[in-house]
Amino acid sequence: MPNMPEPVVSRRGVLAGGAATAVVAASPANAARVGERPAADPAPVKVSFKVNGERRDLALDARTTLLDALREHLHLTGTKKGCDHGQCGACTVLVDGVRINSCLSLAVMHEGDDVTTVEGLGTPEKLHPLQAAFVKHDGYQCGYCTPGQICSAVGVLDEIKRGVPSHVQGDIAASPAFSNIEVRERMSGNICRCGAYSNIAEAIADVAGGKA
């Protein structure tokens, strides 16, 4: 391998020159302003919301996502962190009945909200109909995306009922109807790398009345 007469590349140097932008853009140090003194942590921010029907009062670092508040502060680890960037859907929860990626939402934004996680849908002893359908149809494998898939499915069925339109509807003004393709379109924000999609679609159809 040829030994390049390489100039020493420093973070500061790279930032100044344009050629290596790709390298530095992917580095966590990119977020830092060079030379800036780290500020002391700001005081915790108080927030109160309901989780699975129970009022929770928290004092959090304002940077805490709803996902980390649930997992690390309330120890509700059913909600999963797959990417922390809103790319995979594993962190899907219902806030006031609407599904969101809890990793893309700061906990302090949820004052007074009503949050439902997978733990709030059912328990191993008393499964929610969708949880039971996932078991029956083997709508999972490793199980890591599963809570997000189930919360998302709860949201999807409700969206169809409420007439929220989707990309695959023939007529955007008409009421959406339950169908295999309608569900697959709406569930596409929830990645399952094990590839249980075919079974998940059948589990959801089972609960929706077998109309897929």
Binding site: E6, V8, K80, K81, V135, G143, T146, P147, Y197
Partner: protein
């Protein structure tokens, strides 16, 4: 128990529990979010500190300076570990590249520091204040350039897929030159990422010099041993646990940096530390399936008999790494008197290449099964008929070795009937459905079965509860359930009388999860332990163990019968054994077979491909649980669609890294991409494989499906794309004219 002769009749043959669909016994936990994954052990670890990993920002070179002043002063920071203060570290036996870089940097996003703080938010903020200056060196990042001078190489994926550098049978060159019909074509497959949903994650807790690590790992014994080797402590001082694994696909076969850095961070912080590798670091920090450049030549007589076949594959890896063994299947899948099989291995400075689901065969079949389709077309033959014509019941390199079972022809014929193959128009680009160009494709599925020693401990406790302990993992494969089914069948109890404990280094060493060897071998190990437990039960009850029957919760011998639970009245009975293998796997070729059928629509205007129908017919020994086995196959088919149509780690050959290193940029199939999938298992019980008469199936489902998609796209469009993934830009300009 040593398995040396074909299995005779045994209690598993009753198939009252084994072989029947059974919902996963861990299903209620997984669907309610109560199964604890690696990062979720609040019950055991009440007050952990949080680690955040810093990855190298160059592809090759060295760190010239580290300035931790600001990071250390940041709020909440407890410790920062870099190679400077980590102490002497070893390298794992299964790792090609060290897991904590510095001062030398081997690849982009190689871990160079862990910042430990009171909270995750503090650790993340402080990690952004770690100042690293680099001296970048020139790296070898371009596979095509590096292959020009790459030497021949043999290799092994470390999980059973092996191949020597060059294999010859007969005179390939002469036979190919003389063949009246020839194919000489080049194919490429890109680097791929496992992209499992659960990030690499670990919690480490020291008590004195003893370390407990909860992690996410497919192979407890490999990870356990390599963590000890890396830290330089005896493995007896480490407990390594992985009860639930959120997907691995080969990425979690090995010790990775999360476990090492959690252990180092916890030692430096003086308290437990939890670390999840940030998603954007995963594709470059961890391993990936290496890209291949494949060259296939096939010569045949006019009646479709293959007379010459050659397959060369080139791939690259870090220094000391191994080739992607993409030629494996070509040694065994089709007959042909003259053969040449070879591999080239280039040294690259991209991240470490290693096993991903069906290493070798997955990319190898993607190429070979297009080549077979192309050859059939040249011969004017149906691609199924061409495959059947060249079927072989023996190892083509060693004709004295027969396949233990080989039902490839039945898979193809059965699948053709079910899929309506006769409706396929062999002339491409003829079928339209509105705006869609419609095509059908077929490919063989092939993957070897691998014997692995596997141990288990079985307890008969109060009330007749049977508890199985083995370090086997369940990575979504259904291990919990099939192990419970095996113990239930052997001990004559219902599945809910069995407790299964997995993924703990204190349990007997199992096959682990990889190379589709987990299910068959791990259950065979449980079988062996249960045989011992049955003997212990018979002995305690004063029964003649040879004719004792275990059934319906009872133990029977002659006209005597008693409840199984009674055997534990005088105290728990414990038995431990492992399955080991003799030479049957050498005498016979143990392989699994299948046929993939795919129908696609290609948008005549945009070139977008949509999969419309999929069918797999598989013959893979006894299917232990048709429901979980089917899930393995549909999951593999889904990954195959990804490989065919979208998955590609894009290489920046200037700076040496995978550009699309997260789940937004690295595209994998989503719900909208996957239609209902059909799977059929042919009856088979392979008595040469193990007492379960079972083989693997989890990777078979992936091997060939990509080519079936590619062949369907060709049948739809008439445009042959030989470079995966088949994205619309590769055929759009050559699609049939829009009238």
């Amino acid at each position: 128990m040593k398995f040396e002769t074909p299995a005779g009749d045994n209690p598993i043959d009753r198939m009252t529990v084994v072989g029947r669909a059974h919902a996963r016994i861990d299903g209620p936990l997984k669907t309610t979010g109560t199964a604890p994954y690696a990062y979720e052990h609040h019950r055991e670890i009440a007050d952990p500190a949080y680690g955040y990993v810093v990855g190298a920002a160059i592809g090759k070179g060295r760190i010239s300076a580290i300035d931790l002043t600001q990071a250390k002063a940041a709020p909440g920071v407890i410790a920062i570990v870099t190679a400077d203060n980590a102490g002497k570290l070893g390298k794992g036996k299964f790792n090609t590249v060290k897991l904590l870089g510095g001062p030398e940097i081997d690849h982009y996003h190689q871990a160079v520091a862990i910042v430990v703080a009171e909270t995750f938010e503090q650790a993340r903020a402080a990690a952004a204040l770690v100042r690293l200056d680099y001296a970048r060196a020139e790296g070898r990042f371009d596979l095509d350039t590096a292959l020009k001078t790459a030497p021949l190489a043999g290799g092994s994926s470390d999980e059973g897929s092996g191949s020597p550098g060059v294999d010859r049978v007969g005179q390939f060159e002469q036979a190919f030159a003389a063949a009246p019909v020839k194919l000489d074509a080049h194919y490429s497959t890109p680097d791929q990422s496992h992209a499992m949903m659960e990030p690499f994650a670990s919690i480490a807790a020291w008590r004195g010099d003893e370390l407990t690590v909860w992690t996410s790992n497919q192979m407890i014994a490999w990870g356990h041993g390599d963590l000890a080797r890396t830290l330089g402590i005896p493995k007896e001082k480490i407990r390594f646990l992985s009860p639930y694994v959120g997907g691995g696909f080969g990425g979690k076969l090995f010790l990775r940096t999360d476990a090492v850095l959690a252990a180092l961070g916890a030692r430096a912080a003086g308290r437990p530390v939890k670390v999840a590798l940030q998603r954007p670091l995963i594709p470059n920090n961890t391993t990936h399936r290496p890209a291949t450049r494949q060259h296939i030549r096939i010569g045949a007589t006019k009646d479709g008999t293959i007379t010459a076949i050659a397959h060369d594959s080139g791939s690259g890896d870090q220094p000391g790494g191994e080739p992607e063994t993409a030629v494996n299947q070509t040694k065994l899948l089709y007959a042909g008197a003259n053969r040449r099989i070879s591999m080239h291995l280039a040294v690259l400075d991209l991240p470490e290449g290693n096993a991903m689901r069906a290493p070798g065969e997955a990319p190898g079949m993607m190429a070979l099964e297009i080549a077979i389709d192309e050859m059939a077309e040249k011969l004017g033959m149906d691609p199924i008929a061409f495959r059947i014509k060249n079927d072989t019941q023996v190892d083509p390199e060693k004709p004295e070795r027969r396949f233990s079972e080989r039902q490839l022809v039945r898979c193809l014929e059965d699948g053709a009937k079910r899929f309506g193959w006769s409706r396929r128009n062999p002339k491409p680009a003829q079928v339209r459905d509105g705006r869609w160009l419609v095509g059908m494709g077929v490919a063989a599925a092939f993957r070897n079965h691998i014997n692995m020693a596997s141990g288990a401990r079985v307890r008969l406790g109060q009330g007749g509860v049977v508890t199985v302990e083995t370090d086997m993992t369940d990575i979504g494969t259904g291990s919990y359930t099939i192990i419970a089914q095996t113990a239930a069948e052997m001990m004559g109890v219902p599945v809910d009388a069995v407790v299964v404990k997995l993924g703990d280094s204190r349990f007997p060493v199992s096959a682990g999860s990889g190379g589709q060897f987990g299910a068959a071998n791990a259950t065979a190990g449980v079988y062996a332990a249960c045989v011992k437990l049955r003997e212990a039960v018979a002995q305690r009850l004063g029964f003649n163990s040879a004719d004792t029957v275990f059934e319906g919760g009872k133990v029977r011998s002659g006209n005597r019968s008693t409840d199984l639970a009674q055997a534990a009245n005088a105290g728990e009975l414990v038995a431990e054994d492992k399955i080991e293998f003799g030479k049957l796997g050498d005498t016979y070729q143990l392989s699994t077979f299948g046929a993939h059928f795919v129908e696609v629509g290609v948008d005549a205007f945009t070139g977008v491909t949509r999969v419309r129908r999929m069918l797999a017919v598989c013959a893979a020994g006894r299917i232990l649980n048709p429901q979980t086995a089917r899930s393995q196959v549909i999951g593999a088919m889904t990954m195959g669609v990804g490989g065919a149509l979208m998955e590609e780690l894009a290489v920046d050959t200037r700076f040496g890294f995978f550009v699309n290193h997260d789940l937004a940029g690295y595209e994998v199939p989503v719900h909208a991409d996957i239609p209902h999938q059909e799977v059929v298992f042919l009856d088979e019980a392979d008595d040469k494989a193990n007492p379960m008469k079972a083989k693997g199936v989890g990777e078979l489902g992936l091997c060939g499906v990509g080519a079936a998609v590619a062949n369907a796209v060709y049948n739809a469009t008439g445009v042959r794309v030989r470079d995966y993934p088949i994205t619309l830009d590769k055929h759009l300009e050559r699609l049939p004219a829009l009238v």
